[in-house]
């Protein structure tokens, strides 16, 4: 049986590294999805989720509801990401994956980089909450109820955000293809 967030938080408070590792494995990707929804940049998102997670561990004693650790952590990461955007280091000049090949041919790498650029541009046209919902659902495979719990939104609202986000993304990406 999986350890609950609350028990892992209690163990982290006692200084148990493996418990922190479990939380890292459980939440690092969702943290990155939330950070990506805010920053619109993969590099910034990576930085924000790393900094946010470490900051959360530093302040673990102030997590008042350990059973809601996920939502608390995502809020810290979201705030970090917003700060990063505010004091954004100029990264636009660097290509998205400079020096980071996926192990494909250069032509395939280029195609992937272009696809990422288009996806990020399309996501940027959505409201932040819709970006979060669609990334958590369609990239991280979170269920509606998990998203609702962690983002503290009604499940119906999550469904609605997902519906609108997908429809809008399809519209934008389809429009681009036609063009």
């Amino acid at each position: 049986m999986e350890d609950s967030d609350a028990s892992l938080v209690a163990r982290v408070r006692r200084g148990e590294g493996p418990a922190a590792d479990r939380l890292l494995e459980r939440y690092f990707r969702p943290c990155r999805a939330v950070a990506l929804a805010v920053t619109g940049s993969e590099d910034d998102a990576d930085d924000a989720c790393q900094e946010g997670f470490v900051a959360a561990m530093e302040r673990i004693d102030s997590c008042r509801h350990p059973e809601r650790f996920g939502g608390w952590l995502l809020q810290i990461v979201r705030n970090r990401a917003r700060n990063l955007v505010r004091h954004r280091r100029v990264r636009e000049a660097a290509p998205l994956d400079a020096g980071a090949s996926d192990g494909r041919s250069p032509a395939a790498d280029l195609e992937q980089a272009e696809l990422r650029r288009r996806l990020l541009a399309a996501l940027a046209e959505l409201p932040e909450v819709q970006r979060e919902v669609v990334l958590l659902h369609d990239l991280e495979d979170w269920k509606h109820h998990e998203i609702a719990k962690q983002l503290e939104l009604p499940a119906g609202t999550v469904r609605s955000h997902l519906h609108h986000a997908r429809r809008r993304l399809r519209l934008i990406l389809g429009r681009e293809e036609e063009a």
């Binding site: 982290v12 200084g15 148990e16 590294g17 922190a20 590792d21 890292l24 690092f28 990707r29 990155r32 990506l36 993969e42 990576d46 790393q50 997670f53 470490v54 561990m57 530093e58 994956d97 980071a100 996926d102 992937q112 696809l115 990422r116 996806l119 990020l120 669609v134 990334l135 659902h137 369609d138 990239l139 469904r159 609605s160 997902l162 519906h163 997908r166 429809r167 993304l169 399809r170 990406l173």
Partner: protein, 118 residues
């Protein structure tokens, strides 16, 4: 929302598509967290213990000082010294000693009454 639009393939944004970079990022975070936990488990040094004690004590002292100051301000200035009264009593004692007798109660009362301006 019964007929949800089909999901958009976002796998191009999956961090695991660059496994080495992603694993490196996770490892760096794990190390940073380990350092945080180590710092938390370290027993506090003497200066930190002192600082932990000093902070509340200094805060309490500041509050006490503030309260004392406020009380003093409410009560007004302290009573002024009364040199003339002391001098009159000294003179009375001196003359009594010269006369070889103790000052009477009436004489002391008279000296004090003069202080009150009566």
């Amino acid at each position: 929302m019964t007929n949800d639009p089909e999901s958009v393939d976002l796998s191009a944004l999956d961090p695991a598509r660059r496994p080495e970079l992603w694993a490196g990022r996770m490892e760096a975070t794990r190390r940073a967290v380990a350092a945080v936990l180590l710092e938390r488990s370290r027993p506090p040094g003497p200066l930190e213990v002192l600082a932990d004690w000093a902070r509340p004590i200094l805060a309490a002292a500041a509050v006490l000082l503030l309260l004392l100051g406020a009380t003093a301000a409410l009560l007004g200035p302290p009573a002024a010294p009364r040199p003339s009264e002391a001098r009159r009593l000294a003179l009375l004692s001196e003359s009594a000693v010269i006369a070889g007798r103790a000052a009477t109660g009436a004489e002391v009362r008279t000296a004090l009454r003069r202080r009150a301006g009566t």
